[in-house]
Symmetry: C2
Subunit: 160 residues, 2 copies
């Protein structure tokens, strides 16, 4: 099951991913900005994720490494432009294998009845760079990340 | 006179500005990354520019303030994603009046016969945000910046 929605229009430079989580906005924001939790939800299930650095503040650096079953590493990195708890953060995003194709990711959290609407908009330097990510099945990684994050949120202790 | 070229295609999210300077790449790179020089060339001629901060390194912050004849201030700011001397830098870019419309600017310097080709590509979070900048005559500010930067470069001491 997945209720992750994508908006990927032909000829545009962005990818929008939307998922509604059944958790309060503050809880979702804390989860997605917590370096300890990132390895539990970020990326597709067949890769593991290591957080090398994650400074969640304006000008802070981040770097995640995906590791496959054979131990090969794939690095991703960027800097935070803004962090406005609990509603949004904006950061740059680069796959180290294609360092000239830097994207800008804006994650916005909105309160909706029953939960939180998570919207991640990634805008790419060209249509071609955006389409390359779509062809590389970037949506699969995003969809699995959202599913895994929903699982992490479901496991949090209930406040009574 | 102006030999600044713009590529602004309908329905896309980016603005590309290109100018060929008659100066070596290292000289152009040093000029565009020097906080002392920014007030002499950045922005349209009818505004003055103050540099509040400009940390030209990965994760560094920048903030420029345009001041009009009546003393009103217009702030712009962002963070540097990457600085690769003398060939390129990548930074986020936000007009503080519209803080949700963060753009990503990539400046690339290429050596060409007789000088340096400066290419600034700004990619915006939506077509609408991009078009709003075009309507606000953002190209004028860019064109005048390029003319003013050419004047600054022409005034540099000749090496003998």
């Amino acid at each position: 099951m997945s209720d992750t929605e994508f908006v990927i229009e032909p000829g545009r430079q962005d990818i929008v991913m939307i998922h509604v989580f059944h958790a309060p906005r503050e809880v979702v924001f804390r989860a997605v900005t917590d370096p300890e939790l990132v390895p539990r939800w970020w990326g597709p299930r067949f890769l593991s994720t290591r957080v090398d650095v994650m400074e969640v503040r304006r000008g802070g650096l981040w770097r995640y490494v995906n590791v496959d079953a054979r131990g090969r590493e794939y690095g991703f990195r960027g800097v935070y432009h803004d962090v406005v708890a609990p509603e949004r953060f904006v950061r740059t995003w680069e796959f180290e294998g294609t360092p000239r194709d830097v994207a800008l990711e804006t994650v916005t959290l909105e309160e909706v009845p029953g939960g939180t609407r998570y919207v991640a908009r990634s805008v790419h330097p060209s249509v071609e760079a955006r389409d390359a990510i779509v062809r590389a099945d970037g949506a699969r990684g995003g969809r699995e990340s959202m599913e895994r994050l929903a699982e992490v949120l479901a496991q949090r202790p209930t406040r009574t």
